[in-house]
Symmetry: C2
Subunit: 230 residues, 2 copies
Protein backbone atom coordinates (compact mmCIF):
# COMPACT_ATOMS: atom_id res chain seq x y z
CA UNK A 1 0.00 0.00 0.00
CA UNK A 2 1.18 3.49 -0.82
CA UNK A 3 -0.09 6.69 0.78
CA UNK A 4 1.17 10.07 -0.40
CA UNK A 5 0.04 13.42 0.99
CA UNK A 6 0.81 16.55 -0.99
CA UNK A 7 1.57 19.33 1.48
CA UNK A 8 2.19 23.07 1.11
CA UNK A 9 5.63 24.56 1.71
CA UNK A 10 7.78 27.58 1.06
CA UNK A 11 11.55 27.45 0.60
CA UNK A 12 11.83 25.01 3.53
CA UNK A 13 10.19 21.78 2.33
CA UNK A 14 9.74 20.52 5.90
CA UNK A 15 7.87 23.58 7.16
CA UNK A 16 4.51 22.74 5.67
CA UNK A 17 1.97 25.28 6.84
CA UNK A 18 -1.48 24.97 5.24
CA UNK A 19 -4.24 24.68 7.88
CA UNK A 20 -6.05 22.23 5.63
CA UNK A 21 -2.94 20.08 5.18
CA UNK A 22 -2.52 20.00 8.95
CA UNK A 23 -6.05 18.65 9.31
CA UNK A 24 -5.17 15.86 6.88
CA UNK A 25 -1.82 15.12 8.55
CA UNK A 26 -3.49 14.77 11.94
CA UNK A 27 -6.27 12.63 10.46
CA UNK A 28 -3.73 10.25 8.93
CA UNK A 29 -1.79 10.05 12.21
CA UNK A 30 -5.06 9.51 14.11
CA UNK A 31 -5.65 6.45 11.94
CA UNK A 32 -2.09 5.29 12.60
CA UNK A 33 -1.23 5.35 8.92
CA UNK A 34 2.27 5.78 7.49
CA UNK A 35 2.43 8.15 4.57
CA UNK A 36 4.92 10.02 2.46
CA UNK A 37 4.72 13.81 2.59
CA UNK A 38 5.30 15.41 -0.76
CA UNK A 39 6.09 19.10 -0.16
CA UNK A 40 4.57 21.32 -2.83
CA UNK A 41 4.99 25.00 -3.54
CA UNK A 42 2.03 27.19 -4.46
CA UNK A 43 2.98 27.37 -8.13
CA UNK A 44 3.49 23.60 -8.28
CA UNK A 45 -0.06 22.77 -7.14
CA UNK A 46 -1.61 22.94 -10.63
CA UNK A 47 0.82 20.21 -11.70
CA UNK A 48 -0.23 17.70 -9.02
CA UNK A 49 -1.75 14.46 -10.28
CA UNK A 50 -2.36 15.76 -13.78
CA UNK A 51 -3.94 19.05 -12.70
CA UNK A 52 -6.75 17.68 -10.53
CA UNK A 53 -6.77 20.57 -8.06
CA UNK A 54 -5.96 24.17 -7.26
CA UNK A 55 -5.49 23.43 -3.55
CA UNK A 56 -3.75 21.04 -1.22
CA UNK A 57 -3.98 18.71 0.61
CA UNK A 58 -4.30 15.95 -1.95
CA UNK A 59 -4.08 12.33 -0.87
CA UNK A 60 -3.04 9.54 -3.20
CA UNK A 61 -3.81 6.04 -1.92
CA UNK A 62 -2.71 3.51 -4.51
CA UNK A 63 -5.04 4.32 -7.43
CA UNK A 64 -7.35 6.67 -5.53
CA UNK A 65 -6.82 10.43 -5.41
CA UNK A 66 -8.73 12.51 -2.86
CA UNK A 67 -8.82 16.32 -2.80
CA UNK A 68 -9.88 18.45 0.21
CA UNK A 69 -9.16 17.88 3.89
CA UNK A 70 -12.71 16.96 4.92
CA UNK A 71 -13.05 14.57 1.99
CA UNK A 72 -9.72 13.00 3.01
CA UNK A 73 -11.01 12.49 6.57
CA UNK A 74 -14.18 10.90 5.20
CA UNK A 75 -12.10 8.67 2.89
CA UNK A 76 -9.89 7.53 5.76
CA UNK A 77 -12.93 6.83 7.97
CA UNK A 78 -14.57 4.80 5.19
CA UNK A 79 -11.43 2.93 4.18
CA UNK A 80 -10.15 2.14 7.69
CA UNK A 81 -13.34 1.88 9.75
CA UNK A 82 -11.71 -0.40 12.32
CA UNK A 83 -9.02 2.13 13.26
CA UNK A 84 -9.77 4.94 15.74
CA UNK A 85 -12.75 6.89 14.49
CA UNK A 86 -12.28 10.44 13.22
CA UNK A 87 -15.94 11.38 13.66
CA UNK A 88 -17.31 9.21 16.47
CA UNK A 89 -20.39 8.27 14.47
CA UNK A 90 -22.70 9.85 11.92
CA UNK A 91 -23.82 12.66 14.23
CA UNK A 92 -20.23 13.71 14.76
CA UNK A 93 -19.60 13.47 11.02
CA UNK A 94 -22.50 15.76 10.13
CA UNK A 95 -21.95 18.20 13.01
CA UNK A 96 -18.27 18.57 12.10
CA UNK A 97 -19.41 20.59 9.08
CA UNK A 98 -20.69 23.44 11.28
CA UNK A 99 -17.47 23.45 13.25
CA UNK A 100 -15.51 23.49 9.98
CA UNK A 101 -17.62 26.41 8.73
CA UNK A 102 -17.19 28.30 12.01
CA UNK A 103 -13.42 27.84 11.92
CA UNK A 104 -13.19 28.74 8.24
CA UNK A 105 -15.41 31.83 8.41
CA UNK A 106 -14.63 33.15 11.89
CA UNK A 107 -11.02 32.17 12.63
CA UNK A 108 -9.29 31.84 9.24
CA UNK A 109 -9.81 35.42 8.00
CA UNK A 110 -8.24 36.86 11.13
CA UNK A 111 -5.34 34.41 11.17
CA UNK A 112 -4.75 35.06 7.49
CA UNK A 113 -4.59 38.80 8.09
CA UNK A 114 -2.16 38.29 10.95
CA UNK A 115 0.13 35.90 9.06
CA UNK A 116 -0.19 36.66 5.37
CA UNK A 117 2.94 38.78 5.05
CA UNK A 118 4.88 36.38 7.25
CA UNK A 119 3.86 33.60 4.86
CA UNK A 120 5.08 35.63 1.88
CA UNK A 121 8.54 35.88 3.48
CA UNK A 122 8.72 32.07 3.57
CA UNK A 123 8.24 31.65 -0.18
CA UNK A 124 10.78 31.44 -3.00
CA UNK A 125 10.89 34.09 -5.73
CA UNK A 126 8.50 32.32 -8.04
CA UNK A 127 5.88 31.72 -5.35
CA UNK A 128 6.29 35.27 -4.02
CA UNK A 129 5.60 36.62 -7.51
CA UNK A 130 2.37 34.60 -7.60
CA UNK A 131 1.31 35.08 -4.00
CA UNK A 132 1.57 38.85 -3.58
CA UNK A 133 -0.70 40.03 -6.41
CA UNK A 134 -3.09 37.10 -5.87
CA UNK A 135 -3.61 37.84 -2.19
CA UNK A 136 -3.49 41.62 -2.50
CA UNK A 137 -6.29 41.49 -5.07
CA UNK A 138 -8.29 38.98 -2.99
CA UNK A 139 -8.01 40.96 0.23
CA UNK A 140 -8.05 44.44 -1.29
CA UNK A 141 -4.94 45.57 0.56
CA UNK A 142 -1.17 45.31 0.29
CA UNK A 143 0.57 42.63 2.35
CA UNK A 144 2.28 45.42 4.24
CA UNK A 145 -1.01 47.13 5.09
CA UNK A 146 -2.43 43.83 6.35
CA UNK A 147 0.73 43.28 8.37
CA UNK A 148 0.50 46.73 9.93
CA UNK A 149 -3.11 46.07 10.88
CA UNK A 150 -2.43 42.71 12.45
CA UNK A 151 -2.33 43.88 16.06
CA UNK A 152 -5.98 44.90 15.77
CA UNK A 153 -6.86 41.35 14.69
CA UNK A 154 -5.53 39.79 17.89
CA UNK A 155 -8.32 40.79 20.29
CA UNK A 156 -10.88 39.82 17.66
CA UNK A 157 -9.32 36.38 17.30
CA UNK A 158 -9.13 35.89 21.06
CA UNK A 159 -12.82 36.86 21.36
CA UNK A 160 -13.88 34.48 18.61
CA UNK A 161 -12.26 31.59 20.47
CA UNK A 162 -14.73 32.10 23.34
CA UNK A 163 -17.03 29.21 22.32
CA UNK A 164 -14.01 26.91 22.37
CA UNK A 165 -13.13 28.11 25.87
CA UNK A 166 -16.66 27.32 27.04
CA UNK A 167 -16.30 23.76 25.73
CA UNK A 168 -12.81 23.24 27.15
CA UNK A 169 -14.01 24.23 30.62
CA UNK A 170 -16.04 21.02 30.44
CA UNK A 171 -14.01 18.54 28.38
CA UNK A 172 -10.41 17.98 27.29
CA UNK A 173 -11.10 17.98 23.55
CA UNK A 174 -13.85 19.21 21.26
CA UNK A 175 -14.38 15.54 20.47
CA UNK A 176 -14.79 14.72 24.18
CA UNK A 177 -12.24 12.86 26.31
CA UNK A 178 -10.06 12.30 23.27
CA UNK A 179 -9.56 14.17 20.00
CA UNK A 180 -11.66 13.81 16.87
CA UNK A 181 -11.42 15.43 13.45
CA UNK A 182 -13.26 18.48 14.87
CA UNK A 183 -10.20 19.10 17.04
CA UNK A 184 -7.91 18.86 14.03
CA UNK A 185 -10.08 21.38 12.17
CA UNK A 186 -9.52 24.06 14.81
CA UNK A 187 -5.99 22.90 15.57
CA UNK A 188 -5.11 23.29 11.89
CA UNK A 189 -6.12 26.95 11.99
CA UNK A 190 -3.91 27.75 14.98
CA UNK A 191 -1.07 25.54 13.78
CA UNK A 192 -1.08 27.52 10.53
CA UNK A 193 -0.35 30.59 12.64
CA UNK A 194 2.18 28.79 14.84
CA UNK A 195 4.37 27.66 11.94
CA UNK A 196 4.15 30.88 9.89
CA UNK A 197 3.51 33.77 12.25
CA UNK A 198 5.96 36.18 13.82
CA UNK A 199 3.20 36.94 16.35
CA UNK A 200 1.51 34.48 18.71
CA UNK A 201 -1.67 35.70 20.35
CA UNK A 202 -2.49 33.05 22.98
CA UNK A 203 -1.35 33.58 26.56
CA UNK A 204 0.02 30.61 28.47
CA UNK A 205 -2.85 30.71 30.97
CA UNK A 206 -5.53 30.63 28.26
CA UNK A 207 -7.49 27.37 28.43
CA UNK A 208 -7.14 27.22 24.64
CA UNK A 209 -3.36 27.03 25.10
CA UNK A 210 -3.73 23.92 27.26
CA UNK A 211 -5.84 22.25 24.58
CA UNK A 212 -3.48 23.36 21.77
CA UNK A 213 -0.50 21.93 23.64
CA UNK A 214 -2.41 18.66 24.10
CA UNK A 215 -3.01 18.60 20.36
CA UNK A 216 0.69 19.25 19.70
CA UNK A 217 1.49 16.25 21.93
CA UNK A 218 -0.78 13.87 20.01
CA UNK A 219 0.52 11.08 17.81
CA UNK A 220 4.10 11.26 18.95
CA UNK A 221 4.20 15.04 18.86
CA UNK A 222 3.35 15.21 15.15
CA UNK A 223 2.40 18.86 15.43
CA UNK A 224 5.73 19.71 17.09
CA UNK A 225 7.68 18.12 14.22
CA UNK A 226 7.50 21.55 12.58
CA UNK A 227 8.87 24.10 15.07
CA UNK A 228 7.08 27.33 15.80
CA UNK A 229 8.19 30.22 13.61
CA UNK A 230 8.63 32.47 16.65
Amino acid sequence: MSLVLYTLCGTDPMRHFSPHVWKAVMALKHKGLDFEERPTRFTEIPGIEGGITKTVPVLRHDDAVVVDSFAIAEYLERTWPDRPSLFGGEGGHASARLIEAWSFLELHPLIRNIAVRDIWTMLDDKDQAYFRPNREERFGATLEALHEGRDAMVPLLLARLEPLRMVLARQAFIGGEGPLFVDYIVFGALQWLRVTGTLWPLKSDDIVTGWFERCLDLHGGAGRAVPARL
Copy 2:
Protein backbone atom coordinates in the same frame (compact mmCIF):
# COMPACT_ATOMS: atom_id res chain seq x y z
CA MET B 1 -44.83 6.72 33.38
CA SER B 2 -45.13 10.46 33.94
CA LEU B 3 -43.14 13.12 32.11
CA VAL B 4 -43.54 16.77 33.03
CA LEU B 5 -41.65 19.65 31.42
CA TYR B 6 -41.63 23.00 33.15
CA THR B 7 -41.72 25.69 30.46
CA LEU B 8 -41.43 29.49 30.56
CA CYS B 9 -44.41 31.71 29.81
CA GLY B 10 -45.77 35.19 30.22
CA THR B 11 -49.47 36.00 30.62
CA ASP B 12 -50.34 33.49 27.89
CA PRO B 13 -49.53 30.06 29.33
CA MET B 14 -49.39 28.45 25.89
CA ARG B 15 -46.84 30.89 24.41
CA HIS B 16 -43.78 29.39 26.02
CA PHE B 17 -40.72 31.15 24.68
CA SER B 18 -37.43 30.14 26.32
CA PRO B 19 -34.83 29.01 23.76
CA HIS B 20 -33.66 26.37 26.20
CA VAL B 21 -37.19 25.07 26.78
CA TRP B 22 -37.64 24.82 23.02
CA LYS B 23 -34.52 22.64 22.81
CA ALA B 24 -36.04 20.33 25.42
CA VAL B 25 -39.49 20.29 23.77
CA MET B 26 -37.97 19.30 20.44
CA ALA B 27 -35.77 16.68 22.10
CA LEU B 28 -38.80 15.08 23.78
CA LYS B 29 -40.75 15.12 20.50
CA HIS B 30 -37.73 13.67 18.68
CA LYS B 31 -37.87 10.72 21.08
CA GLY B 32 -41.61 10.40 20.45
CA LEU B 33 -42.41 10.93 24.12
CA ASP B 34 -45.68 12.30 25.46
CA PHE B 35 -45.26 14.84 28.20
CA GLU B 36 -47.21 17.42 30.14
CA GLU B 37 -46.12 21.02 29.75
CA ARG B 38 -46.27 22.96 32.97
CA PRO B 39 -46.16 26.67 32.08
CA THR B 40 -44.12 28.65 34.58
CA ARG B 41 -43.66 32.38 35.02
CA PHE B 42 -40.26 33.86 35.80
CA THR B 43 -41.11 34.53 39.44
CA GLU B 44 -42.50 31.01 39.86
CA ILE B 45 -39.27 29.28 38.82
CA PRO B 46 -37.68 29.33 42.32
CA GLY B 47 -40.67 27.33 43.56
CA ILE B 48 -40.29 24.46 41.06
CA GLU B 49 -39.60 21.06 42.58
CA GLY B 50 -38.66 22.45 45.98
CA GLY B 51 -36.33 25.15 44.68
CA ILE B 52 -33.97 22.98 42.64
CA THR B 53 -33.25 25.59 39.97
CA LYS B 54 -33.16 29.22 38.90
CA THR B 55 -33.83 28.35 35.26
CA VAL B 56 -36.12 26.28 33.07
CA PRO B 57 -36.46 23.82 31.44
CA VAL B 58 -36.80 21.28 34.20
CA LEU B 59 -37.89 17.74 33.39
CA ARG B 60 -39.56 15.46 35.92
CA HIS B 61 -39.66 11.79 34.91
CA ASP B 62 -41.32 9.79 37.66
CA ASP B 63 -38.85 10.23 40.53
CA ALA B 64 -36.04 11.82 38.51
CA VAL B 65 -35.65 15.59 38.08
CA VAL B 66 -33.32 16.95 35.41
CA VAL B 67 -32.32 20.62 35.07
CA ASP B 68 -30.78 22.21 31.92
CA SER B 69 -31.65 21.55 28.29
CA PHE B 70 -28.43 19.74 27.38
CA ALA B 71 -28.68 17.55 30.48
CA ILE B 72 -32.27 16.75 29.53
CA ALA B 73 -31.18 15.69 26.04
CA GLU B 74 -28.47 13.49 27.57
CA TYR B 75 -31.01 12.01 30.01
CA LEU B 76 -33.45 11.21 27.20
CA GLU B 77 -30.69 9.65 25.09
CA ARG B 78 -29.55 7.50 28.01
CA THR B 79 -33.05 6.52 29.15
CA TRP B 80 -34.51 5.79 25.70
CA PRO B 81 -31.49 4.63 23.68
CA ASP B 82 -33.64 2.61 21.28
CA ARG B 83 -35.65 5.62 20.12
CA PRO B 84 -34.27 7.99 17.45
CA SER B 85 -30.89 9.27 18.58
CA LEU B 86 -30.48 12.91 19.56
CA PHE B 87 -26.71 12.90 19.09
CA GLY B 88 -25.91 10.26 16.48
CA GLY B 89 -23.13 8.75 18.57
CA GLU B 90 -20.49 9.91 21.01
CA GLY B 91 -18.75 12.20 18.53
CA GLY B 92 -21.98 14.03 17.88
CA HIS B 93 -22.64 14.24 21.61
CA ALA B 94 -19.25 15.83 22.36
CA SER B 95 -19.25 18.10 19.30
CA ALA B 96 -22.72 19.41 20.15
CA ARG B 97 -21.10 21.32 23.01
CA LEU B 98 -19.17 23.60 20.63
CA ILE B 99 -22.33 24.25 18.63
CA GLU B 100 -24.20 24.99 21.87
CA ALA B 101 -21.43 27.41 22.91
CA TRP B 102 -21.43 29.09 19.50
CA SER B 103 -25.18 29.57 19.58
CA PHE B 104 -25.16 30.76 23.18
CA LEU B 105 -22.27 33.21 22.81
CA GLU B 106 -22.74 34.40 19.23
CA LEU B 107 -26.48 34.28 18.55
CA HIS B 108 -28.22 34.62 21.92
CA PRO B 109 -26.84 38.05 22.90
CA LEU B 110 -28.05 39.60 19.63
CA ILE B 111 -31.46 37.92 19.75
CA ARG B 112 -31.83 38.96 23.38
CA ASN B 113 -31.10 42.58 22.50
CA ILE B 114 -33.62 42.44 19.66
CA ALA B 115 -36.39 40.82 21.69
CA VAL B 116 -35.88 41.77 25.32
CA ARG B 117 -38.43 44.58 25.45
CA ASP B 118 -40.89 42.56 23.41
CA ILE B 119 -40.56 39.81 26.01
CA TRP B 120 -41.24 42.28 28.82
CA THR B 121 -44.55 43.22 27.17
CA MET B 122 -45.63 39.56 27.34
CA LEU B 123 -45.25 39.32 31.13
CA ASP B 124 -47.75 39.94 33.92
CA ASP B 125 -47.21 42.73 36.43
CA LYS B 126 -45.30 40.62 38.91
CA ASP B 127 -42.91 39.22 36.30
CA GLN B 128 -42.47 42.65 34.71
CA ALA B 129 -41.44 44.05 38.09
CA TYR B 130 -38.78 41.33 38.38
CA PHE B 131 -37.66 41.28 34.75
CA ARG B 132 -37.02 44.95 34.05
CA PRO B 133 -34.51 45.78 36.82
CA ASN B 134 -32.89 42.33 36.53
CA ARG B 135 -32.24 42.65 32.81
CA GLU B 136 -31.44 46.36 32.84
CA GLU B 137 -28.75 45.75 35.41
CA ARG B 138 -27.41 42.68 33.58
CA PHE B 139 -27.22 44.43 30.20
CA GLY B 140 -26.35 47.90 31.45
CA ALA B 141 -29.11 49.60 29.50
CA THR B 142 -32.83 50.28 29.75
CA LEU B 143 -35.18 47.95 27.88
CA GLU B 144 -36.19 50.91 25.76
CA ALA B 145 -32.59 51.71 24.82
CA LEU B 146 -32.00 48.09 23.83
CA HIS B 147 -35.21 48.15 21.80
CA GLU B 148 -34.17 51.33 19.99
CA GLY B 149 -30.83 49.76 19.15
CA ARG B 150 -32.30 46.52 17.84
CA ASP B 151 -32.14 47.42 14.14
CA ALA B 152 -28.36 47.56 14.41
CA MET B 153 -28.34 43.99 15.75
CA VAL B 154 -30.04 42.56 12.67
CA PRO B 155 -27.11 42.70 10.22
CA LEU B 156 -24.82 41.33 12.94
CA LEU B 157 -27.17 38.41 13.55
CA LEU B 158 -27.49 37.70 9.84
CA ALA B 159 -23.69 37.73 9.50
CA ARG B 160 -23.21 35.38 12.43
CA LEU B 161 -25.48 32.83 10.77
CA GLU B 162 -23.01 32.53 7.90
CA PRO B 163 -21.45 29.25 9.16
CA LEU B 164 -24.94 27.75 9.24
CA ARG B 165 -25.54 28.85 5.64
CA MET B 166 -22.30 27.17 4.58
CA VAL B 167 -23.50 23.90 6.14
CA LEU B 168 -27.01 24.12 4.73
CA ALA B 169 -25.65 24.54 1.22
CA ARG B 170 -24.44 20.95 1.65
CA GLN B 171 -26.99 19.19 3.87
CA ALA B 172 -30.62 19.59 4.96
CA PHE B 173 -29.91 19.72 8.69
CA ILE B 174 -26.92 20.43 10.92
CA GLY B 175 -27.28 16.79 11.97
CA GLY B 176 -27.10 15.63 8.34
CA GLU B 177 -30.04 14.29 6.32
CA GLY B 178 -32.27 14.50 9.40
CA PRO B 179 -32.29 16.66 12.51
CA LEU B 180 -30.32 16.03 15.69
CA PHE B 181 -30.13 17.92 18.97
CA VAL B 182 -27.63 20.32 17.35
CA ASP B 183 -30.46 21.49 15.09
CA TYR B 184 -32.71 22.04 18.09
CA ILE B 185 -29.98 24.09 19.78
CA VAL B 186 -29.92 26.62 16.94
CA PHE B 187 -33.63 26.29 16.22
CA GLY B 188 -34.35 27.16 19.86
CA ALA B 189 -32.50 30.45 19.49
CA LEU B 190 -34.47 31.53 16.42
CA GLN B 191 -37.75 30.15 17.76
CA TRP B 192 -37.24 32.31 20.85
CA LEU B 193 -37.23 35.32 18.52
CA ARG B 194 -40.14 34.00 16.43
CA VAL B 195 -42.51 33.64 19.38
CA THR B 196 -41.52 36.86 21.20
CA GLY B 197 -40.21 39.33 18.64
CA THR B 198 -42.01 42.13 16.86
CA LEU B 199 -39.18 42.02 14.33
CA TRP B 200 -38.15 39.07 12.18
CA PRO B 201 -34.77 39.35 10.47
CA LEU B 202 -34.64 36.41 8.06
CA LYS B 203 -35.64 36.93 4.45
CA SER B 204 -37.69 34.24 2.74
CA ASP B 205 -34.91 33.46 0.25
CA ASP B 206 -32.30 32.94 3.01
CA ILE B 207 -31.20 29.31 3.09
CA VAL B 208 -31.54 29.53 6.88
CA THR B 209 -35.26 30.21 6.41
CA GLY B 210 -35.66 26.97 4.47
CA TRP B 211 -34.00 25.04 7.29
CA PHE B 212 -35.99 26.88 9.99
CA GLU B 213 -39.24 26.06 8.19
CA ARG B 214 -38.19 22.41 8.00
CA CYS B 215 -37.58 22.50 11.75
CA LEU B 216 -41.02 24.06 12.32
CA ASP B 217 -42.54 21.19 10.31
CA LEU B 218 -40.89 18.48 12.43
CA HIS B 219 -42.80 16.24 14.82
CA GLY B 220 -46.23 17.19 13.62
CA GLY B 221 -45.41 20.88 13.43
CA ALA B 222 -44.53 21.12 17.13
CA GLY B 223 -42.73 24.41 16.56
CA ARG B 224 -45.76 25.91 14.82
CA ALA B 225 -48.01 25.04 17.76
CA VAL B 226 -47.00 28.42 19.15
CA PRO B 227 -47.76 31.04 16.48
CA ALA B 228 -45.24 33.70 15.52
CA ARG B 229 -45.63 36.92 17.48
CA LEU B 230 -45.54 38.99 14.30
